[in-house]
C-alpha cells in the first residue's frame, strides 16, 4: 500500500470516470471492436514504450518490438481469459518480444550488451554547471544510462515496480519468476541504481 507521502506512480493507464475500464475495452476488442483496441493502445502504449525502450540495449528495435506486441495483442485478445490484468498481459507480451529481439551474447544472456564506458559517460558529470543544462532532461538521461548498466531482469523488475507500479505478483507473472525472486531483483537493482546516481547529489 503506497504511503500518503509517496508520489504517484505513472498512471496514464487509469481511465477517467467516463472512460470504459480495461475490462470493457478488452471484451469489446476481443469481439473485433477496433475502436476499443485503439483505446487500449492509446491508454497503455506509452507505458509499453517506456518499458521496451529501456529493456532494449539497441533502441533502434523499439518499433519492431511494439509493432509485434500490438499484433500479438490484437490476435490474442479473443483467447485472453483475464487470468491477469490486461496491463500485466501487455507487459508480458512486450517482454517476450524484447526477449525475442535481444541477441544472446553470453550463456546466461542476463547481462546487458552495452559498452560500459559509453554508458558511464552518459551519466552526466556531477560537477557540470546545472545552469547550462536542462536538469530534468539530464537526470532522465542519467537514469537511463544507469538502468542500462543493470542486468536485464533487474532492470525489468525495477521499471515495472517503481515506474509502472505493478505488484510483486504481477511482476512475477511478467518475468515468469517467483515473487521472492522479484524481491531479490529489486533489492539489487535499487542498490545499483542508488550507487550509480549518487554522483548527482
Amino acid at each position: 500500500m503506497p504511503r500518503p507521502t509517496d508520489p504517484p506512480a505513472a498512471r496514464p493507464a487509469v481511465p477517467g470516470p467516463a472512460q470504459p475500464p480495461d475490462e470493457v475495452l478488452t471484451r469489446r476488442a476481443a469481439l473485433g471492436d477496433k475502436e476499443a483496441f485503439a483505446a487500449i493502445v492509446g491508454r497503455h502504449g506509452p507505458a509499453l514504450y517506456r518499458y521496451a525502450y529501456r529493456l532494449l540495449d539497441d533502441p533502434s528495435g523499439i518499433e519492431d518490438v511494439l509493432q509485434d506486441t500490438c499484433l500479438d495483442a490484437w490476435r490474442g485478445l479473443p483467447r485472453f481469459r483475464g487470468d491477469s490484468s490486461l496491463r500485466t498481459w501487455l507487459f508480458t507480451l512486450t517482454r517476450h518480444r524484447v526477449h525475442t529481439l535481444r541477441p544472446r551474447f553470453s550463456p546466461s544472456a542476463s547481462r546487458p550488451h552495452v559498452d560500459i564506458d559509453d554508458a558511464v559517460n552518459q551519466v552526466p558529470a556531477p560537477h557540470a554547471d546545472p545552469a547550462q543544462h536542462n536538469i530534468d532532461s539530464s537526470l532522465l538521461q542519467a537514469l537511463d544510462a544507469a538502468l542500462r548498466l543493470l542486468p536485464v531482469r533487474q532492470r525489468s523488475a525495477w521499471i515495472l515496480k517503481e515506474i509502472e507500479d505493478l505488484s510483486y505478483a504481477e511482476i512475477a507473472t511478467v518475468l515468469a519468476v517467483t515473487a521472492d525472486s522479484v524481491r531479490g531483483l529489486l533489492e539489487r537493482a535499487r542498490a545499483s541504481l542508488a550507487h550509480s546516481m549518487k554522483e548527482w547529489r
Partner: protein, 154 residues
C-alpha cells in the same frame, strides 16, 4: 514502492520524472503501429454463406464482429462473449451470445430485440444459410451483477 520523500535524492527525482514521461518516439510511431495491427487478420475459421450466385465463405471473426455491432446497437445491452460453431460443411451450426444488461432493463424484451438483431445480421451475412428465426433461441440467465454503467454505455 520505495520511499521517495527526499526530492533531493537524484534517483527519487529521476524516478518521478520517468513516471511522468512519455517518450517522443511513442508519439511519433503509435498511429502507424496501431494501423498496421488492425490491418492484420486474426486466425479464424471460415463460415459458409450462400447467395444467388453460389456459396462463399466469411471468416468467423468477421461474423462475430458484425454480430457484436448489432448487439451493442441495442440499447441497454452489450455483448460480453460471442462464439460460433460450424458443422462439417462449414455451415453455421450455433451462435452463442452472452450479454451484460443495464440494471432495470426488461430482460425478456431485451432478449427479443437481441434475437431480432442477431437474425437480421446473420441473414445479411450468410444469405440462405443463415438460421431461421425459429432456430435462434433465447435463454435468460442472470450470471453476474455489475454496478458500473460503463459496462453497457458506448
Amino acid at each position: 514502492m520505495s520511499d521517495f520523500q527526499d526530492t533531493n535524492d537524484p534517483l527519487a527525482r529521476a524516478t518521478q520524472l520517468l513516471r511522468q514521461h512519455t517518450d517522443a518516439g511513442w508519439t511519433v510511431m503509435s498511429a502507424n503501429i496501431l494501423a498496421r495491427a488492425l490491418r492484420a487478420f486474426r486466425p479464424s475459421n471460415p463460415v459458409r454463406g450462400r447467395h444467388d450466385h453460389g456459396d462463399f465463405f466469411i471468416a468467423s471473426d468477421v461474423l462475430v464482429a458484425r454480430v457484436r455491432e448489432a448487439v451493442d446497437a441495442v440499447p441497454q445491452a452489450a455483448a460480453t462473449k460471442i462464439t460460433c460453431t460450424t458443422n462439417q460443411r462449414r455451415e453455421l451450426d450455433r451462435v452463442t451470445i452472452q450479454i451484460v444488461a443495464a440494471y432495470g432493463a426488461h430482460l425478456v424484451t431485451l432478449g427479443e430485440h437481441l434475437h431480432a438483431a442477431t437474425v437480421a445480421t446473420l441473414t445479411d451475412l450468410l444469405g440462405d444459410l443463415a438460421p431461421d428465426r425459429a432456430e435462434v433461441h433465447t435463454h435468460v440467465h442472470v450470471g453476474d451483477v455489475s454496478d458500473d454503467p460503463r459496462d453497457v454505455l458506448r
